[in-house]
Amino acid sequence: MAIFSKEESKKILEKVIAFSKADACEVNLNGTNGGNIRYARNSVSTAGENSDVTLIVQSNFGKKSGVATINEFDDASLEKVVRRSEELAKLAPENPEFMEPLPQQTYGESKTYFESTAKITPEYRAQAAANSINPAIAKDVTAAGFLEDNYSFASMMNTKGLFAYNQSTGVNFTVTMRSNDGTGSGWVTRSFNDVNKLDTAEASRIAIDKALQSRQAKAIEPGKYTVILEPAASAELIRNMLFNMNARQADEGRSFLAKKGGGTKMGEKIMDERVTIYTDPFNLDVPASPWSGDGQARKKMDIIKNGTVANMFYDRYWASNKNVAPVPFPGNAIMEGGNASLEDLIKDTKKGILVTRFWYIRAVDPQTQLYTGLTRDATFFVENGKVKHPIKNFRFNESPVIMLNNVETLGKQVRVDVDGGPGGGASFLIPYMKLRDFTFTSLSDAV
C-alpha cells in the first residue's frame, strides 16, 4: 500500500491540484516500505518492517506560503489538506526568499529501482543474517551485523505543470566480526540498489579475515604517515567536505571556500590536480534520483575538476540573488580513480599504514575543514611492499582539503554509501587512495 505507481500518484496529485485556490500550489507524495534485521553475539537481536506514505502540500499567495501534510487519500482528506495549507499561507508573513514553483522540467531516466530488492521478505533477511553468522561461528569469531532494505517512491506536481516521479530501491549491509580472544576486529560494508548483487557470505568472509589478521596489534608512534585508505575510510571525509560547498555560506564568509578579504575560491585550485569529483545521477553503480526535492533536474556536473573548484551549490533563492543558475545539491558523488588495485598500492609502498575505515569523525574547525576521528576494525603497518603486521588504532586530526593535496596514487573505485544508504545517506564512488603526510595524533587501545 505504501508504494503508488506513476499512474496512481499522478491521479492523486491531479486531484489535489484541482482543489487548489491559491496563486500556486506544489504537492509532493512520497512513500516507503522498509525492513531490517540486526544481529549481535552470533544471534538475531531485532528485526522489523515499516511503511508510510505522506502527502505534502505547499500553497502560496504571492510570497506568503504554507505547508500542510497528511497520510490519508480519500477526496475529503485531500481537500482538507489543501485548505489547511492555504489557511497557513494566508496567515504567514511574506517570505522574501520564497520562489515560485518551477514549470515542467525535462528529467533523464535513472535506474534506481530493482524488483529484486522491492520483493525482499523477512525470510530473506533471516537467511542473509544466517549466511553471515554461520561462517563466523566456524572460525571462532563473533558477528554483529545489520541489513536494511528500502523500497520507496517520490512524486511531485505543481500548478505550473511540473510532474516528476521516481521509484528506488536500496539495500545496505554492514558487519563487524570480532575475534573471540577480543584482540581482533574486522568490518565490511556493502550497498546496492539491486539486492541480487549482495552476497552477505562473501562480505562476511572479508570481515572475518580482517578480524583474524588484526589480532595482537602492535603499537607504533603517532605522527605523519603515508596512508592507504580503503574507500570506506575516506568517503565520509569527502562527503563532509562536499556538504560544506554551499555557495551562500562561502559568499557570507563562513566557509572553507571563503577568501581572506572577501570573495570565494570558485575557480581556484585547492587540491592536487588529479582530484576530480563529479555528480552523475545516471551512473549505473551509484544511481540517484534524476530530480531534487524541489523539482530541479539533476544532471552530470563537475564539483572539483583537476583540483579546482568547478561548482558550489546554489539554492534557487541564492542563485537568483547572485544572478546565476541554481545548482541543486547532488544525489551522489563520484571521485575519479585509476587502475591500481589495493594490492598494487601496497606493493608500491615503502612504509605506510593501511586503513579499513575511520570512525567517530567530527568537525574540529569548519574554517579549515579539520576533522578528528579514529581508525577502526583492522589497521595494518605496510613496509617494503608488504602488509607487515596489525597496528593499534590511531586518532587522526586531518582536513580532507589538505589530504587531497597530498595524493600519491588513486586506485580503483568502490561504491560506499555514507549514513546507512537507503533512505538516509547518499551514494559515493570513491577510489582506493594512497596519500602522504596523514596526521595521526594519538594512540587508542580500542579493538
Partner: protein, 546 residues
C-alpha cells in the same frame, strides 16, 4: 493562529533548513498541538486488541505503545523568521516475544484492524527469526502497575505560548547580538511533547505526558581582513521543563570565572546573545594555545559531554555485551572489571550516579518504554565501578533481578531498547567554588561549553574541544585562548580528577539527540556536575592553514 501572530516577522523560508524530525511526521497547525489525543479508555481498548492478538498467535509476551509525538520549531536568522513548523507523528508499535525471540512491527493505522495486522506481522517476524536464535530472551520479572499516569512537572506548556512570543524572543536576542557587532546569528526554539501510552501482557496500562524545551543559537563573527570566522553557541541547556526555562530569573544566573555569565535552572537568551557577540570577537583575537600538559578546570556546560561519552556510553550493558559492536561499538569496561569490585574507574573524588528521575532532566519519566518504574542507582562509587545501565532482557547477565528502567524508543515506529539514563558526577563534599579551584592551579585552562567531540569504539581514547578557553597562570585567569582540544584516555582522565566543586555549583546540561542503534534512534539525556579539576591533561593545537 491569527494573522497578528506574524506582525513584525520579516520572512519565513520553510523547507530550506534541515530539521531534526522524521520526514514522516505530519505538519499541523499550532492549535492542533493542543488538541488532546485519544482518551485513556480508548487507548486501553486499542492496546488490548494488540495484546489479545499476540496471545492468540502464540506470543508469550507483548507490549503495545500508542504514541503521539509533537514537535514545534521556530527558526530565525538575524531579523527574519525562517521557519515555523509544528509536527505530529502518531501511530502504534507492537513488540512481542514468540519462540523466545523478539519481533516488532509498527503502523500509523491506529484502529483495531491496523493494530491486529501489525501484531500478526510482529509475531511472524519473531517466528522467522527464531530459527536462527541462539539465546532465547529472558525477561526480568516486572509487576503490572494497572492503570497509572505520569507527567513532566511543567509550569508553562510551551505549546500554549503564542508563536509570536517565541519568535519575538529569538528576534530580540538576534538584534542584541547584531547590535554588538555579530556578523550572523541563527537561533531556534525547539519544543517536544511525547504523549505515550504503554500496555503490556504484565498488566500495565501507563499513560505519560513528557515535555522538553531547547532554546539555542549560534553567533558567528567574521574578520574579513584575516578571513577568520568563529562561532559562539548559546550557554543554554536542553531541559525536561516547560517554557518557564526561558524566564531567566536572577537567582539562576552565575557569575563565572573570566567575567562570564552562566545559567542554571532558567535561561536569559537575550542577555546571553549579547555576551556571545562580545565573546565571539574575543575568540578571533585570542592567543593560539601552546600544546602541552595542562591542569584543566572544566565547567559543567562543558563537562557534561565528556561524562556522556566516557562514562555514560561505556557503562551501557548492551555495549559491554557486544550488541552494539557493529555500530556504536563495545566497551573497555568489561564484566570482569565490574566483578573484580576493585576497578578504579576514577579517583576517589569520582562518584557517578545514573537516574531517570532528576527533576528538570531530559531523561526524567515515571516509567520507561517497557513499563518499568524509574529510579536512581550508583555506577561508580568512590572511583570504583559498581554497576551498569541495563533493561529487562539484560539484567540476568549481571545476576540482578530488577531492570534499571532505562528502556526507550524515539517513536512509535521504532523498537525500544536500552538507552542511556541521566549520568551525573556527584558534587564534592568539601566547600569549594570554581574561583577557589582556579586559585590553586599554576598552569591550566578553564574550558566553558561543549564543542568538538570524538571517542573510540571502546571508549578509551577521546578528544574534546570547547567554546571558550581561558588560560590560567599562577591561580589567575590570564586571557582567552583558541585552537584548544584535549586528548586523553578515559581511565587515566577520571583518575586525574583531583577536585569537584560543591553542590552550589551543580548544574545539568545534556544531549537532545543522542544517536544509537541500527536503524539509528535518538535519545534525550542530561548530565549533571559541578566544575571539576583534572591534572596534567594533554592539550593539542588545532589551528591549520589551507
Amino acid at each position: 493562529m491569527k494573522r497578528r501572530d506574524f506582525i513584525q516577522l520579516a520572512g519565513m523560508g520553510a523547507g530550506a533548513l534541515m530539521l531534526p524530525v522524521s520526514s514522516l511526521a505530519n505538519t499541523i497547525t499550532a492549535e492542533e498541538l493542543l488538541i488532546p489525543g485519544l482518551d485513556v479508555s480508548q487507548k486501553k481498548r486499542l492496546a488490548d486488541v494488540g495484546l489479545n492478538t499476540a496471545r492468540t498467535n502464540g506470543a508469550t509476551y507483548a507490549d503495545v505503545r500508542i504514541g503521539r509525538y509533537l514537535n514545534q520549531f521556530v527558526i530565525t536568522r538575524e531579523n527574519k523568521v525562517q521557519s515555523v513548523r509544528n509536527t505530529e507523528s502518531y501511530g502504534v508499535g507492537i513488540r512481542v516475544i514468540a519462540n523466545g525471540t523478539w519481533g516488532f512491527a509498527a503502523t500509523n493505522e491506529v484502529t483495531p484492524d491496523g493494530i491486529k495486522k501489525a501484531t500478526e506481522r510482529a509475531v511472524t517476524i519473531a517466528k522467522a527469526n527464531s530459527k536462527f536464535q541462539k539465546e532465547p530472551v529472558k525477561l526480568a520479572a516486572e509487576k503490572g502497575y494497572g492503570e497509572v499516569s505520569w507527567k513532566t512537572p511543567i509550569q508553562k506548556n510551551g505549546f500554549e505560548v503564542p508563536i509570536k512570543e517565541k519568535a519575538d524572543l529569538l528576534l530580540n536576542a538576534n538584534a542584541k547580538a547584531m547590535e554588538k557587532g555579530a556578523s550572523f546569528i541563527n537561533s531556534i526554539m525547539f519544543l517536544v511533547n511525547e504523549q505515550k501510552y504503554f500496555a503490556s501482557t504484565e498488566g500495565s496500562y501507563i499513560d505519560q505526558d513528557i515535555h522538553r524545551t531547547w532554546p539555542n543559537f549560534q553567533v558567528t563573527m567574521i574578520d574579513k581582513a584575516s578571513g577568520q570566522f568563529k562561532t559562539r553557541s548559546a550557554f543554554s541547556a536542553p531541559v525536561g521543563m516547560g517554557y518557564e526555562y526561558l524566564d531567566g530569573k536572577a537567582q539562576d544566573k552565575i557569575q563565572g570565572p573570566g567575567g562570564i555569565t552562566l545559567y542554571n535552572k532558567s535561561y536569559d537568551i537575550i542577555e546571553d546573545a549579547t555576551f556571545a557577540a562580545e565573546q565571539a570577537k574575543q575568540m578571533i583575537s585570542a592567543k593560539s594555545v601552546e600544546p602541552g600538559k595542562y591542569d584543566l578546570v572544566l565547567e559543567p556546560s562543558h563537562l557534561w559531554l565528556t561524562i556522556h561519552e566516557s562514562v555514560g556510553h561505556p557503562l551501557e550493558l548492551d555495549r559491554v555485551l557486544g550488541y552494539e559492536a557493529n555500530y556504536a561499538g563495545t566497551s573497555f569496561a568489561t564484566l570482569d572489571k565490574l566483578q573484580s569490585k576493585t576497578f578504579q574507574y576514577g579517583s576517589k573524588a569520582v562518584n557517578f550516579v545514573a537516574d531517570k528521575i532528576q527533576p528538570g532532566s531530559l531523561g526524567a519519566v515515571g516509567y520507561d518504554d517497557e513499563g518499568v518504574k524509574t529510579k536512581q542507582w550508583d555506577l561508580v562509587k568512590d572511583g570504583v565501578l559498581v554497576n551498569y545501565q541495563a533493561i529487562r532482557d539484560q539484567v540476568h547477565i549481571l545476576g540482578q533481578g530488577e531492570s534499571h528502567g532505562c528502556c526507550y524508543s524515539q517513536s512509535w515506529r521504532d523498537v525500544q531498547f536500552q538507552r542511556m539514563a541521566n549520568v551525573s558526577l556527584q558534587p564534592g563534599k568539601a566547600q569549594l567554588t570554581p574561583d577557589q579551584m582556579i586559585a590553586g592551579v599554576e598552569k591550566g585552562i578553564y574550558i566553558v561549553k561543549d564543542g568538538s567531540f570524538s571517542i573510540d569504539q571502546q571508549r578509551y581514547n577521546f578528544q574534546f574541544g570547547g567554546v571558550l578557553f581561558f588560560e590560567i597562570k599562577n591561580g589567575k585567569i590570564a586571557g582567552m585562548l583558541k585552537d584548544v582540544a584535549y586528548q586523553s584516555n578515559t581511565q587515566e582522565f577520571w583518575n586525574s580528577c583531583v577536585q569537584v566543586c560543591d553542590d552550589r555549583d551543580y548544574r545539568m546540561n545534556g544531549a537532545f539527540n543522542d544517536g544509537k542503534g541500527q536503524p539509528a534512534q535518538s535519545n534525550a539525556v542530561s548530565h549533571g556536575s559541578a566544575t571539576a579539576r583534572f591534572n596534567g591533561v594533554n592539550v593539542i593545537n588545532t589551528g591549520r592553514t589551507l
